[in-house]
């Protein structure tokens, strides 16, 4: 028997245990949100810690979602099917999803979206990108986050902006040089960015494809994560 036969197919175990972990994390974050909703910072001394725990739990959950999605996309197992969505609904769903965390961190979320804007995208993937962007922003913002959607030229633009200090210049530079193919594996571009770019690139229409951009500035002068979809 060849040696490789005795090794289990790790990717299968990884993928299947990720489901399991996601289920547990889903219950965990749900209970935390529930408690945070019942408590106030004054009534419970551990309130801030609990809020931080929720952030970390959601972060891990986002990572797992992304790993699993990338695994499926890489193996052509992902049922990619862009559907038309009313952006207003999408923005409100994102808001509902993030509200407990943001409220517990005393962060104000502002949303902006035309009432009648409809666009085509894969909801789960885009939800993954934007959910993570808001989760990240909640860690680096001072006290405000803005989620907006608008049509810009031929593209839909979804922006997550904060009023924190913005991305460090070294990170933006590293991303830029990596995009130009100068340096690989700089370590500054993690899973999240790779996932976001993959998702953007999968969305195509009439010869155009989506893009993901990070920059500083925007409405609040902090970090901006911008997803553009054709």
């Amino acid at each position: 028997m060849e040696e490789k036969d005795s090794l289990p197919d790790m990717s299968f175990f990884l993928a299947s245990s990720v489901h399991d972990m996601k289920n547990s994390l889903s219950l965990l974050s749900n209970r935390m949100e529930h408690f945070l909703g019942e408590l106030t910072p004054d009534s419970f001394p551990g309130y801030e810690d609990l809020s931080q725990m929720l952030y970390e739990t959601k972060r891990v959950n986002h990572n797992l979602i992304q790993l699993l999605a990338l695994y499926k996309v890489g193996n052509h197992l992902y049922p990619f099917d862009p559907q038309p969505f009313l952006l207003n609904d999408f923005v409100h769903e994102m808001e509902a999803q993030c509200r407990p965390l943001l409220a517990s961190r005393l962060i104000e979320l502002e949303t902006s979206c035309p009432d009648d804007l409809i666009w085509y995208f894969d909801e789960e993937l885009v939800n993954g990108v934007i959910g993570q962007a808001i989760n990240n922003a909640s860690q680096y913002t001072r006290d405000r986050i803005r989620l907006s959607a608008a049509q810009v030229g031929d593209m839909l633009e979804i922006r997550v902006e904060d009023n924190g200090a913005g991305y460090p210049a070294s990170m933006l530079q590293a991303i830029e040089s990596e995009q130009r193919g100068i340096s690989f594996g700089s370590g500054s571009t993690g899973l999240g960015l790779y996932f976001g770019r993959t998702v953007a690139a999968m969305h195509r229409n009439k010869g155009l494809h989506g893009r993901l951009r990070l920059e500083n500035g925007g409405c609040y002068g902090g970090g901006c994560c911008i997803l553009q979809l054709p």
Partner: protein, 542 residues
């Protein structure tokens, strides 16, 4: 957006069912629903418990986890609930999954849930989603009602009407309209619609749809190229694989078709139908091992599914028989009779049993089976349809009962004189028995006879002799009781006759019964729908 109070009463008045094998999840969903104002909430911890509840109570909302442990999964449960009409179009079915995968989102179009929710859930998310589904159900209520009555023309008109003012739902309305057009065979119009959709935006569903239309129009090369292009763009588009395989079969590219289906079952192994299709292709190509594997897989994934198909059992029996494993083949046929009911199944099992004996050098037993089959056909009186009829004739022909076989096939072809596939299959049966000439003759004669019977009525109608035309078509109907064209022609002429001479209770009833019978043979036919609507307009049902 609906006011908070409205949403609250929406929840408090509706009946909810939670299906999840994990008690922690059950409790969480129950808490969430209560927070939204729901009070009438049942829960089930297994598919068996869910079936008990679904079959005895009407629910407005079902929250169902995809993974339910042993037995049916959430999709199979939904299929059964819709098939048995435990839930109707008004019920909101939400499938909860840990992830979006080919396995979880695959299902025939008419068996899709209203929405998928991917964990983790929050109360707000659930509330938003349900509110949206309810609004959507209100928007589509008239279209759904028309669909319930199979009145596609009305459903299409309603889509057009709605599209003119409702920009938000326009994409979905277009998709629905395309499906309705296809259902009634308006291919040219469906194509026009799809081309207009694609001119606006590259949409995979519309490309696959166009491939389907090209296939149905007989433009197989164009269909193949388009579907191949869809797959190149997204190698996980299962629907495109299925239609590409069908197209390649039409082009006689059987090996390529088999490869396409092999790829499709790797991506999405849980469709009993697709596995069976693969088995039949492999069997045709003589790949017995591949065929056996596919048929067995079809049986396994169909175990808990109403989509299971007896064709897989017959196919497996054929494979085992070819492999000189008669015991295994007979065992499979026994298992088929445990899983399926009905006369057709009894006929198929007996016919295959005989063929198994015949192929495995037990001619005496084969003749015995043929005799039993002949008796079965004589007592039941009904003509076995489709596969059952062909399989029965195959055994009869090969055991020297040429007369019964010919009679059976004659009736089968007469009743389906426009079905080219059937005619080919009949030809193959004769070819294999070394009677090519006789086969060709039988098919030609049966068709000719059916046409003459029909023309006689049509000529009388043209000459204005409506009563005689009705009588002539009535005669044709007796001889060809399951020929759709004959049934529809009868109804058409009967309506013309009543239009001219006024309603006549007996004829009106006969026409209604005829149309009902036609409906049982073919639920969606453009002409059937038209005649049905015409009759109901002229003579509204009391």
């Amino acid at each position: 957006m609906a006011g908070l109070q409205d949403t609250f009463s929406d929840f408090s008045q509706r009946r909810f069912l939670i299906i999840d094998d994990f008690h922690g999840m059950q409790r969480m969903l129950r808490d969430m629903l209560r927070e939204c104002g729901a009070t009438r909430i049942d829960s089930a911890g297994s598919s068996q418990d869910a079936i008990k509840l679904l079959s005895s109570s009407k629910y407005d909302v079902v929250l169902c986890d995809f993974n339910l442990g042993p037995g049916k999964n959430g999709q199979q449960l939904l299929e059964e609930a819709k098939f048995r009409q435990w839930v109707g179009p008004a019920c909101a079915w939400i499938m909860i999954t840990a992830e979006k995968s080919l396995e979880t989102v695959m299902g025939a179009l008419e068996y899709l849930p209203d929405s998928y929710l991917i964990k983790p859930l929050t109360t707000a998310l659930l509330q938003n989603r349900l509110t949206k589904i309810w609004a959507r159900k209100r928007t589509f209520i008239d279209i759904n009602n028309a669909l319930g009555k199979k009145d596609y023309s009305r459903a299409i008109a309603l889509c057009d009407q709605q599209m003119a003012t409702d920009r938000l739902n326009a994409p979905e309305l277009q998709r629905l309209k395309y499906q309705f057009l296809l259902a009634i065979g308006e291919l040219a119009e469906a194509r026009q619609l799809l081309e207009a959709v694609l001119a606006e935006r590259d949409q995979p569903w519309a490309k696959v749809g166009l491939g389907r239309v090209l296939f149905m129009q007989g433009d197989y090369v164009a269909a193949r190229d388009l579907l191949q292009q869809v797959i190149n763009e997204n190698r996980a588009n299962i629907e495109a694989y299925d239609w590409l395989a069908k197209t390649l079969q039409q082009l006689e590219e059987l090996e390529a078709a088999e490869q396409v289906l092999q790829r499709a079952v790797q991506l999405s192994p849980n469709s009993p139908q697709r596995q069976k299709d693969l088995g039949e292709l492999a069997l045709k190509l003589g790949n017995l091992d591949a065929a056996e594997k596919a048929f067995r897989k079809s049986m396994a994934v169909g175990e808990h599914s109403i989509m299971k198909t007896a064709d897989a059992y017959v196919g497996l029996a054929r494979v085992c028989s070819n492999k000189q494993q008669p015991e295994e083949a007979l065992k499979t046929l026994g298992s088929m009779q445990k899983h399926f009911d009905g006369e057709q199944i009894t006929v198929r099992a007996k016919a295959m049993e005989g063929m198994v004996y015949l192929q495995n050098n037990q001619p005496a037993k084969a003749r015995e089976a043929a005799k039993a089959l002949d008796a079965l056909l004589a007592t039941s009186g009904a003509i076995p349809e489709g596969a059952a009829g062909l399989e029965a004739a195959e055994l009869l022909l090969n055991t020297g009962n040429k007369e019964s076989a010919t009679e059976l096939l004659h009736k089968l072809v007469m009743n389906n004189h426009e079905d080219r596939k059937l005619a080919n299959q009949v030809g193959e049966i004769f070819d294999q028995a070394g009677m090519h000439e006789e086969g060709a003759q039988l098919v030609a004669l049966s068709r000719q006879e059916a046409l003459e019977l029909m023309n006689a009525g049509a000529l009388l109608a043209q000459a204005g002799k409506l009563e005689e035309a009705v009588e002539s078509m009535r005669n044709a109907k007796k001889l060809l009781p399951s020929n759709l064209r004959v049934l529809l022609n009868f109804a058409q002429i009967a309506i013309s006759c009543m239009k001219q001479q006024g309603a006549n209770e007996a004829l009106l009833n006969e026409t209604r019964q005829t149309l009902q019978h036609a409906r049982s043979l073919c639920s969606d036919d453009k002409r059937l729908n038209q005649i049905d609507n015409q009759l109901n307009e002229l003579f509204p049902k009391p």
